[in-house]
Symmetry: C2
């Protein structure tokens, strides 16, 4: 038993026969220099954090303007160092260095001799060190400073805010870390994923992958298991597949032909994987075991497999023949069809949940993925400004039923038709595709974010785009690919509750999207964080009133797109009057975020089937933002807008379209009623009531609608309810759309009643008194 | 000397050591059948024509409704047969069968044994027959009936007109031959390009290709010559490159490493190839000679090479940031930049110049290519409904300076995501790209025609599109690739002078395209053929009045898109009154074609730089059309519109925009003046006069404009000239925009004066009396 166990853990896939080592890291100015100090390093992690601890920087990094301490580091080299004795290797055994990710351009040396170099953070590194080992060894990894392309600003003008994404335009590396409107300039580098030294036996399994082709009825599949290893000729295998309920549906044994073997079989009566809201995220379990001629296990791999088919199709009504000549083309397809069913994609833009990819892991991914499911989302757009997430992210999305729109790490700039860059992109994209295609959650690929807009300047002719299309076609053609978002027909924005030059409030511009936008892949309404969270990262003396130049600005409340974005103070004061306290500011700001998001999500759904997607900007954030469009403040605190969005994304709900947010005394209030239904179930007839609630306890039911029932996956437009607004003393009133027989379909909206001067009242949790 | 000559002609490239053979062909119902008769066959050619001659069909094929005799043939197999004695082969010699094109699905057998089969008409066939030869041999090529996909009409409803392109949707084969609005249903098949048996020596050159990479300044290039052959190891080569003026600029000799050798060099001070209107189509001459160890020449290849760089860029002003949120993308790039200069693409859609590709050749291509140059065109869109033209077409375009927009042979239907189809498309497209990329004239690739429109139903997600993008990127990435036309921003149509529901006359809808359309890749104005031509193919008793159901309909004057298209009788009679003779019909029809085309070409040019292309539908036709949008009637007879278009496409001209074509007595006539200039030369100041000419000899100059001069490659907008129309007795009047100092810039336009009833006058050559 003991022997078997030892051999099992020697397989690279289990990767347990690791050398115990201690990493250290230091920094230096020139490539040949030796760092003045080597500090203890956490791997995977971020050298910046190791230095912060060793050199006793102000902590934590996310407090006040502590992040400014890190800016100088982008001009240095980092060198990791590890010393180890040569292990006692038996004949046939080798010592291998393995890393799943080193960010971004680096050289690996053993005892001063260069063993490997790479530009690219996504390709795994595997180096057999055996023949170069000495009794005592020193392995170093030297990380180059990040490339600084296309910067037209002198280095000393760099600051912690602002967009410097052009610096990243020759790198296949997250441009967001060069500075974004919710991310400080803080360029990630270093060992960011699992990395270790391992003693390998003479025979081992390196990897296996399941590929399948579903038949037209999505009931049966041809299934292949591709096995790759070393010295596996004539080794015996056993491959077992268990259904989501644990039944063994496939059990196959035999001998392997060589180091690359494909085992094929047919599978029938498949239980499909479904995204949240359309069924269960059913996963099969595949177990492969390889034994050598002596009967010893030389490799075991257990994997989850979900069966699904994803297509990007034209939504009903989007095949519009341009009405008169000269005729152009119809819009680009933007509706997802999963397992033959058209779905309405509801979700959010996933951005990093930590400042450094090296500290992202299953533990800190999971609360967010769980919340995304709770929000009734079925998709996450893994936006192109960040890293390709670690395996555990995709495993969680597989498990929770969240589709992933995966972008390559390109965004918002013009990546060149340059051989060196394209070569890195070709190698990195192949590694990315081959890893991520194995996940049931993968909905489609995208070349990157906003690349065909003026501010980026790329087109269909850009080599990087054509290359990525080729790579996805070569390695994963059954998964749809789009060059970028927005494509023709899609719309990004807006990102605020109201801007006059954009047509006013969300209530005003959103309904104009009808039969115009196929998808809303980005839109946002900002709010400031809660009082409790703000107090954690903004020093007490800066808390109120918020001012530019303080931690509020470092944390993106000011100076992002103009002075007052994302805090939007002039807008808030125009609507709500002079703001007297932090509590008032937070309440007003969060109320507009709630009502704005409800409006957009519900209106986008009303525009189905021409529209197929509503994906807001953004879900979470990598560090605490004082003001942001996010639904969840770092580290994982829901804003009130989270619940508002969750309600707007219920599969079925009673909903209403409104004309505006603020009303004057004497106006007639009007709203158009709808039953929204994304379920593949018919709705029965039911009574719907529309109520006005004001002054705490006053309530007027002003419409009773006999909803006659409706078809599956169809919305239904009801009557317009109207009421002359009564005299109110409250600053707010609510509209409740109530379904007495199905209270889970009820919806509630809050509006501003512009009371005459002098009757200013205190805002309290929605309805004021 | 004699020996040398013999060896030279044995090289495949010279291909002179051919076996003299006589082809025969027959037809049969089932694949195993022997044809009842084998008739003499012209190869390359069309079996349909061989049968027509042998079975004494009514001739010629293009007269009256003779073409209907051929319809039954699409349901048969054709088998070609050739008998030959085994040639006297010396040791090392082989007998090879070679074909540059067999249409479409076929089996080649020798003495009853299957040697080869292929689906695809564009891959060259090379079969070494040597080991299978008997003293007497019979080689057969059996051609399958064409595939009939997606037809929702019963076979017996097929007729000679109408669109049946869905039948072609699983074939990489011209859909146009299944029936189009200017092509009868007549599906091409058979040996359509050069085909022969050849005795090969033991050493030979199979092919060589020159590839180059120009530097950023387009002055110098890295140049590679890739040589491929058999038993060439240690053979010596001499490679000579002569400049367009005959100077030897490169002369390199050495030994070949093996059967695939690349010879590299640098070239400086390159004389670039330019399209018509922008410079000379300069071609270098490359000569490669290979000699064996005995000093005998075993291969010679002479090629023309033109150096150019083609890019597809965003026209000035097309990078429009969508003005408000939600923001979609900017238009797709549609402006050509050749050798670093933005050009305005002026040209025409090239359609087949013969009914069968097997009878197209340099002799019948050349008059059309020559006329295209004469028309001041710089581009031909080789539209996706037809074959990829033969080598001689591209050689002519190289020589005459006509850019080629080359589409793959896909158009107007939904090509499936089907492995079998995609496999053929992958192989065929590779062969096409590797052949055509060698020509200087190649401007850009397109996946096919109108594929992203409702009537086709394909999208960016269609595998055929993604595959073609990949193939072009892999094999010719420096040539731009577009999925299809129209893309977002481009406009196809309209195809008539006036249609009320389309916004009226061309004079009315064309100006609305300003800052809206990036390119007009298809537009047309129909006319009937000239009286002389009509009399050649329409029987005398059917000539006048034209009626549906007669040869007029077989030749596309009626029943194409509604009853009266392309003849447009109701429109002509509304404008010109009752038409009393064929001569009158032809004059009125051709006048509207002239004025309509002038309007569109000149207005598209006025929309520069937002607009980058004006390419009319269509240049010529494959057989005589009674009415068509073509500028040239088959076989090569210019219509008056040819000269109208030629004038509208002059690099520099004085031009005017008009509001409409017909005027009432008492109206004020107005026109906006422009100087149009596509030359990279400034225009000097000059006087421009605007004259009204009417009643034969009356003339009023109603504006003198002091044009102040203008920049290179820029248009200049002048004043609006106005005149109250005088009383006229003529039915037509002319406007002449005259530049006394540069009469070559003069322009002339004809308009209809709707004279009161009873004063009907006789139309005579432009201005009537």
């Amino acid at each position: 038993m003991k022997k078997l166990l030892l051999v099992v853990i020697a397989s690279q896939i289990m990767a347990q026969n690791k050398l115990p080592i201690n990493w250290t890291v230091g920094y230096h100015k020139n490539i040949g220099d030796t760092p003045a100090n080597f500090y203890p390093s956490t791997v995977p992690g971020a050298p910046q954090l190791d230095i912060m601890i060793a050199e006793k920087y102000k902590q934590p990094i996310w407090y006040a303007d502590n992040v400014k301490q890190f800016l100088w580091m982008e001009n240095t080299y980092f060198t990791y160092k590890v010393n180890f004795k040569k292990p006692d290797l038996k004949p046939g055994q080798t010592l291998v260095f393995h890393s799943k990710g080193i960010d971004y351009e680096f050289i690996i040396s053993l005892n001063g001799e260069k063993m490997f170099e790479q530009e690219g953070m996504f390709r795994y590194v595997n180096i057999d060190l055996t023949s170069k080992l000495k009794p005592s060894n020193e392995l170093t990894i030297t990380i180059f400073p990040p490339k600084m392309a296309g910067s037209d600003r002198p280095k000393d003008e760099l600051n912690i805010n602002g967009f410097f994404r052009d610096n990243a335009r020759t790198s296949v590396k997250p441009p967001m870390s060069y500075g974004w409107d919710w991310h400080p300039r803080l360029i990630s580098r270093g060992i960011w994923d699992e990395t270790y030294f391992e003693i390998k036996e003479s025979q081992f399994l390196t990897q296996s992958e399941i590929q399948y082709q579903l038949d037209g009825e999505l009931k049966n599949a041809k299934i292949n298991l591709n096995i790759e290893g070393k010295n596996l000729k004539n080794a015996s295998y056993n491959w077992q597949l268990k259904s989501p309920t644990g039944t063994v549906v496939l059990n196959k044994s035999g001998k392997l032909d060589n180091d690359f073997t494909t085992i094929s079989d047919n599978l029938s009566n498949i239980t499909l994987w479904w995204p949240n809201g359309y069924g269960n995220p059913n996963l099969y379990t595949s177990t492969l075991e390889i034994k050598n001629n002596e009967g010893n296990t030389v490799g075991v791999q257990t994997k989850k497999v979900g069966f699904k088919r994803s297509r990007m199709v034209m939504g009903d009504g989007t095949w519009i023949e341009p009405t008169i000549f000269p005729k152009s083309r119809s819009v680009a397809p933007a509706t997802l069809e999963i397992n033959g069913k058209v779905i309405f994609a509801k979700g959010s833009n996933w951005v990093p949940n930590e400042l450094f990819p090296g500290i992202q892991n299953r533990e800190n991914y999971e609360p967010y993925v769980k919340m995304a499911k709770e929000a009734n989302f079925n998709i996450l757009r893994s936006w192109g400004g960040q890293v390709i997430n670690k395996e555990s992210f995709f495993e969680l999305c597989d498990e929770y039923g969240l589709l992933v729109w995966q972008e390559f790490p390109l965004t918002g700039t013009n990546y060149p038709d340059d051989d060196k860059f394209l070569n890195v992109l070709e190698l990195e994209s192949e590694a990315i595709i081959k890893r991520v295609r194995q996940h049931a959650c993968l909905a489609f690929w995208s070349g990157g974010n906003e690349l065909f807009n003026e501010w980026s300047g790329m087109t269909e002719q850009s080599f990087a785009m054509r290359l990525l299309n080729m790579q996805c076609y070569k390695f994963d053609r059954n998964t749809p690919f789009i060059y970028t978002s927005p494509l023709f027909g899609m719309g990004h924005g807006h990102y605020v509750f109201r801007e006059e030059k954009n047509g006013g409030e969300v209530f005003q511009w959103m309904p104009k999207g009808k039969n115009k936008y196929t998808a809303y892949p980005e839109f946002g309404v900002p709010s400031v964080a809660s009082v409790e969270e703000l107090k954690k990262f903004i020093p007490a003396n800066e808390l109120f009133p918020p001012k530019p130049g303080t931690s509020w600005e470092t944390h993106h409340a000011f100076g992002v797109w103009g002075v007052n974005r994302w805090i939007e103070l002039p807008f808030l004061e125009e609507y709500f009057g002079k703001i007297n306290s932090l509590e008032e500011l937070v309440s007003y700001s969060q109320l507009t975020q709630c009502e704005g998001y409800k409006c957009i999500f519900e209106e986008a759904r009303r525009q189905k089937p021409f529209c197929g997607m509503a994906v807001n900007w953004c879900f979470q954030e990598p560090w605490p933002c004082a003001a942001n469009n996010s639904l969840v403040t770092w580290p994982g605190k829901k804003k009130p807008a989270f619940d508002a969005v969750k309600n707007a994304c219920r599969p079925t709900l009673a909903s209403a379209r409104f004309q505006k947010f603020r009303y004057e005394p004497g106006e007639t209030f009007a709203c158009d009623l709808f039953m929204l239904n994304d379920k593949y179930e018919k709705l029965a007839p039911m009574q719907v009531k529309v109520k006005l609630v004001y002054d705490s306890n006053k309530e007027i039911t002003f419409l009773n609608w006999d909803f006659p029932g409706s078809d599956e996956n169809k919305n239904y437009e009801g009557p317009t309810a109207k009421i002359p607004l009564p005299k109110m003393s409250s600053m707010f009133f609510k509209i409740i759309v109530e379904v007495p027989s199905k209270p889970e379909y009820n919806s509630e909206y809050t509006f501003l009643y512009k009371v005459p001067k002098g009757i200013k009242t205190k805002f309290l949790n929605g309805v004021s008194e």
